[in-house]
């Protein structure tokens, strides 16, 4: 009985069973690779902008700086988590950083003008929202068909959803004087990334 999988010859290194089995289950692998590269580029860019640009301009808001740094390090963890999967699927990153930057599916989180805490937090919030939308698109595309990519994407999605909750809490406080608790903000060391680094996470 055929399971719909393209046969891979014994010892053949030009094809991957790990790719053919998900293709046979209906995954458009070429499209998936493009989406993963776009998401990886956005994670890579955010780890640059969050820290190097935005965090530097949060003077006087040391708590915001710390949370910005958590998000930055976790986005870096996302980048490192997903890049190997791109290569496993037969894709590759462009050998040119500006080209890679232009492939990002989310806007670069450039310093707003004026660079007030409210404007920076708004930018961070919207960046996280783009990340949520981008990763759930990967989850939708792979659910029930490509468990490995789905698992990686859902781990990242878990953290992006937490980041959104952090920035809602901070922006509501800073801009509106309102309390909208994230409900779960608790990290140990900076960049703990409890999901994407596969560590145990706080779950009371």
């Amino acid at each position: 009985m055929s399971n719909g999988v393209t046969p891979v010859a014994h010892g053949d290194v030009t094809q991957r069973v790990g790719v053919e089995v998900i293709r046979a289950r209906g995954v458009d692998v070429d499209k998936l690779i493009k989406m993963l590269i776009a998401n990886a580029a956005a994670e890579f860019a955010s780890t640059y902008y969050y820290y190097t640009i935005l965090r530097m301009h949060l003077a006087g808001h040391e708590d915001y700086k710390e949370i910005c740094e958590d998000a930055r390090l976790e986005d870096r963890a996302h980048w490192e988590l997903i890049v190997p999967r791109i290569y496993e699927l037969g894709g590759e990153l462009p050998n040119d950083l500006p080209t890679f930057h232009n492939m990002a599916g989310c806007a670069a989180a450039k310093l707003p003008d004026p660079p007030t805490a409210v404007n920076i937090l708004t930018l961070l919030l919207e960046s996280e929202r783009c990340a949520i939308r981008s990763w759930i698109a990967i989850c939708d595309m792979t659910f029930g068909k490509d468990p490995r990519t789905y698992d990686l994407a859902s781990r990242i999605l878990n953290e992006e959803i937490e980041h959104e909750a952090w920035f809602i809490e901070l922006l509501a406080h800073e801009r509106d004087g309102k309390s909208i608790p994230s409900g779960h903000f608790r990290r140990g060391e900076p960049g703990e990334a409890p999901y994407s680094k596969n560590r145990g996470f706080y779950n009371p």
Binding site: K34, A41, M103, G105, C106, S134
Partner: protein, 113 residues
């Protein structure tokens, strides 16, 4: 209901023609969603091109889009997620493939290409 600050939007979708009104300060994609019309989109920043449409009539304000080039306007492409109407509009939706092709040909950013 259409008032002086609202415009009639007509979309040519793969499932047929749909019409609704959109305020000049509202994004076309959002107004469509409020009218029960489901359109593709991912970033909602005017960046990823998933929501691309082709403008067949009218004028769209794309000043809130992250990446929108004069060449896009010249070729008639619009980004519904961050586009606001400046007049009544007629738009063909689901043009992401063609907009990415257009961007790639010009060497402009085309995420997901």
């Amino acid at each position: 209901m259409k008032d002086s600050d609202s415009f009639l939007i007509t979309l040519e979708t793969p499932k047929g023609e749909r019409s609704f009104t959109c305020h000049r300060n509202e994004f076309i994609w959002n107004a469509a969603a409020h009218s029960g019309i489901s359109l593709p989109a991912i970033c909602h920043q005017g960046r990823c091109l998933t929501c691309a449409g082709r403008l067949l009539a009218g004028t769209v304000d794309q000043s809130s889009s992250n990446s929108y080039f004069p060449e896009d306007k010249q070729a008639g492409f619009v980004l519904l997620c961050t586009g606001r109407p400046c007049s009544d509009l007629r738009i063909r939706t689901h043009e992401q493939f063609f907009m990415r092709q257009h961007r790639t040909k010009l060497g402009l950013p085309a995420p997901y290409s």
